[in-house]
C-alpha cells in the first residue's frame, strides 16, 4: 500500500478565496458570517449566512452556470488553485475526479407564468423569458471541470450531505493508497444560500434565528448555541503517491493516512444520541491510519452550533479519546465559516493544513462559555501554536453519514 501525499489545496470560503487568505482569516479568528446579501431575506426568520463576497474570475461557460448556481463556480476556482499548486496541468485516464455536493438548485420563480404556477413556463419558455435553468444537476461542476481540464479516468459526484466532501477525500485517499489511481483531485463544494435553501433549513429548525448575534452567531459547543449558520464555498485537494512525489521533488503539504466511514442508522435529522456512529468513524480512521489515540494532537470538530450535534460529538470524542481528551486541542471552524454542508468536510481538512503547514490551530472565537456536555479542550480566541504530528477531522452528515480523516505532518523523509 502506498502512502498518500497532499500536493495541492484550493479553497473558496466566506473567510477568503484562495488558501493564503483562508489561512490568514483562520489564524486571526475572523468570521465571514453576516446578513444575507444575495436575496431579500427581510421576511425570513433566518437572515444570516457565511457568503463568499469576493468576485471570482471564471471562464465564460462556467460563469453562465454559476450565475444560477454559484457553487459550480466555487468548485471550479478551488480545483484550478489546487491543480496549479500541485503542478497538474490536466486530468487524464489515471486521474480520479471526485467532488461532494448536496442539493440541486431549483429556481421556483421560473415556474411562474402570468401570475400562477404553470408547467408551460419551463416546458415552453418564451424568448422574452431569457435563459432558463430550472434544474441544475449535481454533476454539473464535475462535468464542466472535466470538459475544460481534461477527461479523468473516473468522474464522481458524491451526495452524502455534510459528510460528502470528507468522503470524497477519503475515497481519493483509498484510491491512491491501493494504486487504483495516480492522482486524485477531490473535495467538496456547496451553496444553499438561496431562498429555498435557507427557507428549507429554516423550516427544519436547524439554523439560528438570533440574527442580532451577527458575526458570532454560529457558536459551536457554547452554552448559548441555538442553531447553525449556512456557509458556502469549496475546497479541493490533489492527492498523489508519496514516493512518486518525493522522487519528483514536489512540495508535500501533509499526508492523508486514515479514513473512517460509518452510518448511524438512527434518524434522518438527529444524530445517534450515544454518538455511536461518530465514535466508530473516528476509531475506524485511527485504525486505518495505524495510529493510537494518544498520537492525535489536534481535532477539527464537525461542531455545527446546534444543541444536540455538538453535545453528541463532544461525548463521542471523549469516548474515543478516553483519558486523553482534555489534552487534545479542539477547533470548530464553522464558528467563522458557517456550515458549508457538503463542502464543510473538505474546507475543514484545509483548516487542518493550517496546523500542519503553518503550525497554527484555528480557534473557535465565538465560544465564551462551554455548554453542558460539550467539555473538551477547546481552542478559543485566536489561533494557538501546534507542533504535533497527527490531526483528525470530523464530518457528520444529515441522514446519519459520518466520515473522519486522519492527516499527518510530513517531515520531509520517507
Amino acid at each position: 500500500m502506498q502512502r498518500v501525499a497532499i500536493t495541492g489545496f484550493g479553497v473558496v470560503s466566506p473567510i477568503g478565496v484562495g488558501r493564503e487568505a483562508f489561512w490568514a482569516s483562520l489564524a486571526e479568528g475572523r468570521s465571514g458570517i453576516g446578513r444575507i446579501g444575495r436575496f431579500d431575506c427581510s421576511t425570513f426568520e433566518v437572515q444570516l449566512a457565511g457568503e463568499v463576497k469576493e468576485t471570482i474570475e471564471l471562464p465564460e461557460e462556467i460563469a453562465g452556470v454559476a450565475s444560477a448556481d454559484p457553487k459550480v463556480g466555487f468548485a471550479w476556482s478551488a480545483c484550478v488553485e489546487a491543480m496549479a499548486q500541485a503542478g497538474l496541468r490536466e486530468l487524464n485516464s489515471r486521474t480520479l475526479l471526485h467532488l461532494g455536493t448536496s442539493l440541486e438548485v431549483f429556481d421556483l420563480s421560473q415556474v411562474v407564468r402570468e401570475g400562477r404556477p404553470d408547467f408551460q413556463a419551463i416546458a415552453d419558455p418564451r424568448p422574452s423569458d431569457g435563459p432558463r435553468r430550472f434544474q441544475i444537476p449535481l454533476d454539473t461542476a464535475v462535468r464542466l471541470i472535466a470538459a475544460r481540464l481534461g477527461r479523468p479516468g473516473r468522474a464522481l459526484t458524491n451526495c452524502s450531505a455534510c459528510a460528502a466532501g470528507a468522503q470524497a477525500i477519503g475515497h481519493g485517499f483509498r484510491g491512491i493508497r491501493h494504486g487504483r489511481w495516480d492522482v486524485a483531485v477531490c473535495g467538496g463544494f456547496d451553496s444553499m444560500i438561496n431562498p429555498l435553501g435557507v427557507g428549507g433549513f429554516q423550516l427544519l429548525g436547524a439554523l439560528t434565528t438570533s440574527n442580532d448575534r451577527g458575526q458570532r452567531a454560529c457558536r459551536p459547543f457554547d452554552a448559548s448555541r441555538n442553531g447553525t449558520v449556512l456557509g458556502e464555498g469549496a475546497a479541493v485537494f490533489v492527492l498523489e503517491p508519496l514516493e512518486k512525489v518525493l522522487a519528483e521533488g514536489k512540495e508535500i503539504l501533509a499526508e492523508v493516512c486514515g479514513y473512517g466511514s460509518t452510518l448511524d442508522a438512527h434518524s434522518l435529522s438527529a444524530p445517534d444520541p450515544e454518538g455511536d456512529g461518530a465514535a466508530r468513524a473516528m476509531q475506524a480512521a485511527l485504525d486505518d491510519a495505524g495510529v493510537a489515540p494518544d498520537a492525535v494532537a489536534h481535532i477539527n470538530a464537525h461542531g455545527t452550533g446546534t444543541p444536540l450535534n455538538d453535545k453528541v460529538e463532544a461525548a463521542a470524542i471523549r469516548r474515543v479519546f478516553d483519558g486523553l481528551w482534555d489534552r487534545i486541542p479542539v477547533s470548530a471552524t464553522k464558528s467563522m465559516t458557517g456550515h458549508l454542508i457538503a463542502a464543510a468536510g473538505a474546507v475543514e481538512v484545509g483548516a487542518c493544513l493550517l496546523a500542519l503547514v503553518r503550525n497554527m490551530m484555528p480557534p473557535n472565537p465565538s465560544l465564551e462559555r462551554v455548554g453542558q456536555g460539550c467539555e473538551l479542550n477547546h481552542v478559543t480566541g485566536r489561533a494557538d501554536c501546534f507542533e504535533g504530528e497527527y490531526v483528525l477531522s470530523n464530518s457528520f452528515g444529515f441522514g446519519g453519514q459520518n466520515a473522519t480523516l486522519v492527516l499527518r505532518r510530513h517531515n520531509g523523509s520517507k
Binding site: D40, F119, C159, L203, S261
Partner: protein, 320 residues
Amino acid sequence: MKRCEVVVTGVGMITPWGTTAETSAEGWSARRAVGRRALEDLRDTSFAGAQVATLPEFDAAQRLGERRMLKFMSDAAVIGCVAAREASTQAGLKGRFRPERVGLYAGAGLAAASVKDSYPIIRESIDAEGRFSCRLLGSRGLASTNPLLSFKILANMPACLVSILESVKGPNYIFTPWEGQTASALEEAWNAVADGEVDCALAGAADYPTHPSTYVFLRQSGLLCEGEFPAAAAAYLALERRETAARDNRPILAEIGEMSVVECNDGPHDPLSALMGRSFAAAPAVLLALASRTEVASVFVSGVDGQAFHAEVRRPRCNA
C-alpha cells in the same frame, strides 16, 4: 491483498415489470412490454403526448412493515427502500452480520420531487404584479410548505432511509445522478466485499425520472430522445463472500466474477430502454439484479455521463 470471491445472496427489485425481483425477472425474460401512461401535466405544452412507464401498485407500508417513515420518503426513497428490504430479507442480512460490518453503496438519480408539491409555496409567493417574490416567500410561502419536503429532495435521503430501515452501519458511498455513478457504487461494493473491508454490502440504486418536470429537463437537455420513455425503478443486491454464504448455508443466486467501470465515448447504451424504459441511475443495478436472477451472463450499460459498467455474472458452481 487476498481478494475473495463475491456472491449474490439477495436481490430486490421494483420495476415497471413487477414489484418484486421475481416478477421483474419474469417480465424481462419474457421480453414483455411494460405499461405506459401519458403525462397529463404536459398536455398543454410542446411535450403533449409524452409517456412514461407505469409502476404496478404495491403497498409500501406493508412491504416495509413501517408506516411512520413513509412521510419522509420521496417516491425514489419508497421504491429504493422496498427493493433493499427484499434483498436484505432474502440474504437474511439482519442477524447474520454485525451492522457495523455491512456497507451501503448506492446510486441516486436526479432530485425528482414533483413540482406540484411546490405549487402552494409558489402561489403564496407571487406578488401583485404576478412575479415570484422572495419577501412573500419569507412571509407567506414557507408557512404553506410541508417542512418534510426537505427530506424528499435531499439526494442522500433515499439511501439513508435504507440504512435506518435495514440497520446498516458500515462504510458507505452515495453517488449521483447518472448510470456511471451507480456503476461506481456497485464497483465500490464489490471491492469492499472482495477486499474484506466489509462482510456484506447492500448495493443498488433508485431513480424516479417520471415526474413531469424531470421529463421536461431530460428532453430539453437531450438526455432522453423522442420516442424514448423514462421509467421509475429500483434494485438492490446483497453481496457477500462465498465463505460467509457457505458458513451460514445461504443459497447463492449468482457469482460476480468481474466488474469494471470504464470511459465510453459511444453514447448511452441501455439494454432495458426499449422494453422497460430509461431508468438512468437505476439501470446498472437493475441489470445486475436481473442477471443475478436469470441466465444473463454479461452486463453492459453505458450512461449519459460517458461511463460504462461491465459485469460478468456466473451461475453458482454449487449452492453454498
